[in-house]
């Protein structure tokens, strides 16, 4: 029989026992729906986590340091690569080279220093860090009061909540609810504070006070001058945008370009005074942002080849991906259980159909139907139920996912959290759910179809 004829006869046969076949199809669709709902939530959660991590800047960042900075040595990198003394300096030329690597979005120096800030004539000692302008998309600024820096060199400052508390003298007591950021920001935003810092200025060689026999050594020389800069408070943020830097966490942020222009003395500067390539400023570390977390490894490898040490938490993303793969697997298995039950429904329906249509099968065989024609017909009926059930199930699963998402968001809103998209039905899920439904239905149809095909026509014709 031609495929079209098989399909036509199958649909006609399904229509003949419309109630039973509809119920079986609903069974399949419930199975597919549970699978789609489970996986859509799994995928949604995974995407939510990925979005959050992407925004946090943790997973698309490679931290580059020079091998000369022996503190950053890892045993692995010590063994593979040039010796520290022969390795290149992490200077502006190296930064530009890194920026030109494929998949690299930007590379900026990590500028941070401990300094004194005066507010209301009171000194406060803290870590200050330069923030690149691109950091405004960081989710740490989602709940920020005030605004981000107005330009890359604006004389502005953003405070972390804990420092704002310190400035206002509002220390949260243990066991008491946290202080609201909005309450902290109100008296601070628009106010000015004075940053006192050590500026590094290059000393000309003739001004060096060196013994005559050593004055020809290639080296750098700096003067350190104490400066003051007035900065305007523009924002107070709740979360910590600097969470990547465990011990050296900053609580006050200035625009990165401003921090560079101020030539604040860096810890590495002292070490560089003995550098053979002295004279050119070098960076302690560079933060390299890549297009996507999956590019991290390639970029890391390329930078390592250039002779630098790198660090990323790509391994953490790997284990996170693994976690979600396991989660999806479990959700998929639980979702599939309903489909497995539905497949038993298909077998039952088709076996019943064989009993009912025994005589019809006998007639078809008597007038020339082959075993394959009969088998194909039952197969097509199972497949048709799979298609209808699959499509209906995807629609149902999509709806269930939406309802769960809606319910979760109502709950989140009540708990004063922003709404989240915890549910996602990508096209591949829609397609594979329908295909899976058809495959499961066809597998369920295997036994009934071959049983129908094996029927003895003489016996079947005698059946009343």
């Amino acid at each position: 029989m031609k495929l079209y004829d098989v399909a036509e006869l199958a649909v006609r046969n399904l229509r003949e026992s419309i109630l039973r076949n509809s119920l079986t199809t609903v069974g399949i669709s419930v199975g597919v729906a549970s699978l789609v709902a489970m996986l859509s939530l799994g995928i949604g959660l995974q995407q939510l986590a990925a979005r959050r991590l992407q925004k946090s800047g943790l997973f698309d960042t490679v931290i580059v340091s020079s091998r000369r900075d022996l503190r950053n040595f890892s045993r692995d990198q010590e063994e593979n690569g040039p010796a520290p003394a022969e390795s290149p300096s992490l200077d502006e030329a190296a930064r530009l080279k890194i920026v030109q690597l494929p998949s690299v979005l930007e590379a900026y120096p990590d500028i941070r220093f401990v300094t004194e800030l005066r507010f209301d004539d009171k000194p406060h000692l803290t870590m200050v860090a330069g923030l690149p302008f691109s950091a405004r998309n960081n989710d740490a600024f989602d709940g920020m009061q005030g605004s981000f820096f107005s330009s890359e060199t604006a004389l502005e400052v953003i405070l972390q909540k804990s420092f704002a508390e310190e400035l206002l003298g509002k220390r949260p007591k243990p066991g008491v609810d946290e202080v609201n950021v909005a309450d902290l920001a109100k008296p601070l935003i628009g106010k000015e504070l004075i940053m006192r810092f050590a500026e590094r200025t290059v000393t000309p060689p003739d001004a060096r006070d060196a013994p005559p026999d050593q004055s020809k050594l290639p080296s750098a020389a700096y003067s350190v001058v104490s400066r003051e800069q007035t900065l305007k408070i523009v924002g107070v943020c709740d979360l910590d945008p600097d969470s990547l830097h465990g011990q050296g966490r900053a609580r006050v942020f200035v625009p990165l370009q401003l921090a560079q222009n101020l030539h604040v003395m860096q810890p590495s500067d002292l070490r560089d005074t003995t550098n053979v390539a002295g004279g050119k400023p070098t960076y302690t570390t560079l933060q390299v942002r890549v297009k996507s977390p999956k590019d991290v490894q390639t970029v890391e490898d390329a930078i390592k080849k250039m002779g630098f040490n790198t660090f990323s938490i790509v391994d953490a993303t790997k284990s996170l991906r693994q976690f979600f793969a396991v989660l999806d697997l479990f959700l998929g298995i639980f979702g599939s259980l309903a489909l497995a039950v539905a497949s038993i429904g298909i077998i039952n329906t088709l076996v019943m159909a064989i009993l009912e249509r025994r005589r019809e099968i006998g007639i078809m065989k008597a007038i020339g139907a082959s075993d394959n024609d009969v088998k194909g017909l039952f197969f097509a009926e199972a497949g048709a139920m799979g298609i209808f059930g699959g499509v209906l199930g995807v629609a149902l699963g999509w709806t269930i996912g939406r309802v769960i998402n809606l319910g979760t968001n109502i709950y989140l809103r009540r708990q004063h959290f922003p709404p989240e998209q915890i549910w996602s039905v990508p096209w591949w899920l829609v397609t594979s759910a329908v295909v899976f439904s058809i495959v499961v239905s066809l597998l369920s149809g295997l036994y009934p179809a071959s049983r129908a095909a094996r029927l003895d026509p003489v016996q079947a014709l005698r059946y009343e």
């Binding site: 007639i363 078809m364 020339g368 139907a369 082959s370 394959n372």
Partner: protein, 254 residues
């Protein structure tokens, strides 16, 4: 038709031949010899009636000839091929292309219209939809059912259903028309109508007909030869001179 080595038409080509064919099966502990060593020959274009009481083996023999069943031993040769040696797929093709069957209980598929029932063998033969519609309409027209194409079998009388079954049996232009008690469920008037159709196909299309019946009068009226079976064995054969002569007179004999 001939039994054993004798035949009524020694010049006619053999349409079917059985050689010591047996169909035995077990029912509980008992061995049932439904067909027990029957040898017969049917020439092309013959009209043969298989007669006998219930359980004499006539329907079992017809099933063997139809390729619906396989013999326990012996051979069934149709068109020079031994049916016992055909695969399941080849047997299905044989039933589709060589044989047309008519049953006592009509055996139309109740969920299909008459047109769909009649064109069903053409679906199995993978004939295009347009072509098979035309052929099925013609076949139904031939048996006088052109106005009943969209009706379902349950909406028709017994005679009409059997006419539709005849149209279905003829749709693939088979060489062999096998009828199992074709008038068994019909009144005598409708039965005659059906038998006239079968005779017409036998005479005008040259189709070989093997009909199972227990009505001797019907066989005497239409069949050129009558074969009597008893206990699965061939009991007697009679040439029906009246029918042969009538055919010779009308010029329809072969």
């Amino acid at each position: 038709m001939s039994t054993g080595q004798s035949g009524i038409d020694p010049n006619g080509s053999i349409a079917l031949q059985t050689e010591n064919v047996c169909r035995h099966y077990m029912m509980g502990e008992a061995l049932i010899r439904a067909v027990d060593g029957i040898s017969l020959r049917v020439c092309a274009g013959e009209f043969v009636a298989l007669l006998g009481t219930s359980g004499s083996g006539k329907s079992s023999l017809l099933n063997l000839i139809a390729g619906l069943d396989r013999p326990t031993s012996g051979t069934v040769m149709v068109g020079g091929r031994d049916l016992a040696k055909l695969s399941r797929e080849e047997l299905a093709k044989y039933r589709l292309r060589t044989v047309g069957m008519v049953f006592q209980s009509f055996n139309l598929i109740p969920s299909m219209t008459l047109l769909e029932n009649v064109e069903l063998p053409l679906r199995f033969a993978e004939v295009d939809r347009e072509k098979r519609h035309g052929v099925a309409r013609q076949a139904l027209d031939r048996v006088g059912l052109s106005t009943r194409l969209r009706h379902r079998p349950t909406e028709l009388s017994g005679g009409e259903q059997q006419r539709a079954a005849l149209a279905r049996a003829l749709i693939n232009q088979p060489q062999l028309l096998l009828a199992d008690e074709p008038t068994g469920n019909l009144d005598s008037h409708t039965g005659t109508e059906i038998m006239n159709f079968i005779r017409e196909f036998n005479e005008s299309l040259g189709m070989t007909v093997v009909m199972v019946t227990h009505e001797r009068v019907l066989a005497e009226q239409y069949a050129k030869r009558m074969i009597f079976l008893a206990d699965g064995k061939l009991a007697e054969e009679q040439e029906n001179r009246a029918v042969v002569n009538a055919q010779l007179t009308s010029g329809g004999g072969r």
